[in-house]
Symmetry: C2
Subunit: 239 residues, 2 copies
DNA sequence: CTCGGTTTGTTCTCGCGTTCACAAACTCCT
DNA sequence: AGGAGTTTGTGAACGCGAGAACAAACCGAG
């Protein structure tokens, strides 16, 4: 891995095959580093950063090692330098244009969310199929007809789309997005999307999260009644 | 596992140690079964259900085998029977009372979300620290002062809490929830929560999801420019 | 009853991810 | 300069989960 480290230092677009589990944690590290930076911390050890990110320090170091050798032994990591390196690796040193489709309860909340802009994303359009919603202004952005998707996607080179429509409409919306060249979809509708292999889909599903909590909750209370030997249940952050 | 299967058939509160990965998929199967049931399907094979749930059929069968032997070889699964068994296993045959704290953009959207009720959850209170929000009615429920948490949690035996406050307030809210006996928390604030080991925390983080998509998106476009040999990138649903 | 077709439940294997543990490397103090 | 103390980066061990493959079990026809 020594060679990889050197390559990472010299050529910006390097870093072969980062494990998916690591990729999912990089944003967490990035956020922790931003917080540390805002607090005026110049350097931090892997242990400090691990605590701030809520993970094991060994895991943190291994994750960072996939990006290169950005730390100094005996000292730790330069907060701003590491922050930049992770941001670059994730790809949020420039803003990504994003469209949100389905401007109902959830879509409006998302549009109003200020955390996007500051974390590498820019909402370029709000689209809805319901004419009654059109011409409304949400978070300073006009709500446009869904039919405008193709034009907007082309004009802004949109690669990422957010689906916040009812479940029945989600597959149609996804198909149209794919047809417009969108290759990454964040889906809030509780349904399975069928997309070509080159398109990435991530889903955020409220009910599933709650049901997972309910399962463990049931176990806790039943275990108490039942008197069964429940081993140490870890309450670690489960992503 | 033969013994476990028999036990599962006879005693309702059985099913030792279901793997976490399986637990996370049970809600997906449940939803697929509900859809199938509503379509009038009486029985289905593991292959059909797997397609509906967006997973491999071998994985599905293995997952279900942890609950017991609820299928019939050569036939498949009785949709309604399996649906009930999974619902019982997850613990959503009765409703769980839930409190939502932080009734801003996101909290209001959550309160208005009708999918909770139908999936085993009942919002019993909306709490906010801002007096300006009090006495507003969202989704037919009064917004109450945050100080009411203890009384409400006790009166309704609330075990599950949802945090939709700004990040800076999230840890305080979590501490108060834990003090009130809440042992499961769904956190929307982009921060790491410190809670006792017996408390389960699940987080839903928009920015992280988008950043993961951005990472892969960057790889796709860079790979094209670079002409590097990018192996077959799978676009499967990543939870 | 028997046989062919079908589908489940389970075993086995492989790869990924987590964690431990430690050598290498760096700083600071004497 | 050298040694003590600190922290990184990584090799190795281990456990969990994914998937292929197959025997066991069930149905229906004849
Ligand atoms: N509100 C929540 O907190 C919440 C929580 C979890 C999941 N969800 C899911 O998110 C999705 C949106 O929820 P919501 O509460 O905002 O629903 P909503 O009904 O308030 O809004 C849906 C919007 O989508 C629009 N729409 C419908 N079909 C469309 C189409 N084909 N193209 C474009 N727009 C279309 C509608 O006009 C409407 O404005 C749903 O699938 C819901 O299950 C919502
Ligand atoms: N809106 C979104 O789509 C979105 C997306 C991703 C993440 N988030 C996160 O969800 C959280 C809420 O987002 P939002 O857009 O609804 O923010 P918001 O500012 O609209 O609402 C926050 C609410 O929490 C209340 N609050 C503040 N401190 C409190 C306390 N100590 N106790 C109880 N209530 C308190 C405020 O009065 C306000 O009503 C934030 O952490 C945000 O980062 C929101």
């Amino acid at each position: 891995m020594e060679r990889a480290a050197v390559t990472a230092r010299t050529s910006p677009e390097s870093a072969r095959d980062i494990p998916e589990a690591t990729v999912a944690r990089l944003p967490v590290y990035l956020r922790a580093l931003v917080t540390l930076s805002e607090q005026g911390t110049a350097t931090c050890s892997s242990e400090e950063l691990a605590v701030a990110a809520g993970v094991n320090s060994a895991k943190l170091r291994k994750d960072l090692s996939y990006l290169g050798s950005y730390g100094t032994r005996g000292v730790g990591y330069d907060v701003d330098y590491l922050r930049y390196q992770i941001a670059r690796e994730i790809g949020v040193t420039q803003d990504w244009p994003v469209v949100i489709v389905g401007i109902g309860n959830l879509g409006q909340a998302l549009a109003n969310y200020s955390g996007f802009r500051s974390r590498g994303f820019r909402v370029v359009a709000l689209l809805d199929a319901d004419p009654a919603r059109h011409d409304a202004v949400v978070a300073g952005i006009d709500v446009r007809p869904f039919a405008d998707l193709e034009r907007i996607a082309r004009e802004h080179s949109v690669a990422i789309g957010v689906i916040a429509t009812p479940a029945v409409a989600a597959q149609d919306v996804a198909d149209r997005m794919v047809a417009c060249g969108i290759t990454s979809i964040l889906n809030f509708a509780p349904t399975v999307l069928n997309v070509p292999a080159e398109v990435d889909v991530r889903k955020v599903d409220l009910s599933i999260e709650l049901q997972i909590l309910a399962y463990h909750e049931q176990r806790k209370t039943n275990g108490a009644q039942n008197g069964a030997q429940d081993g140490a249940r870890e309450g670690a952050q489960t992503a």
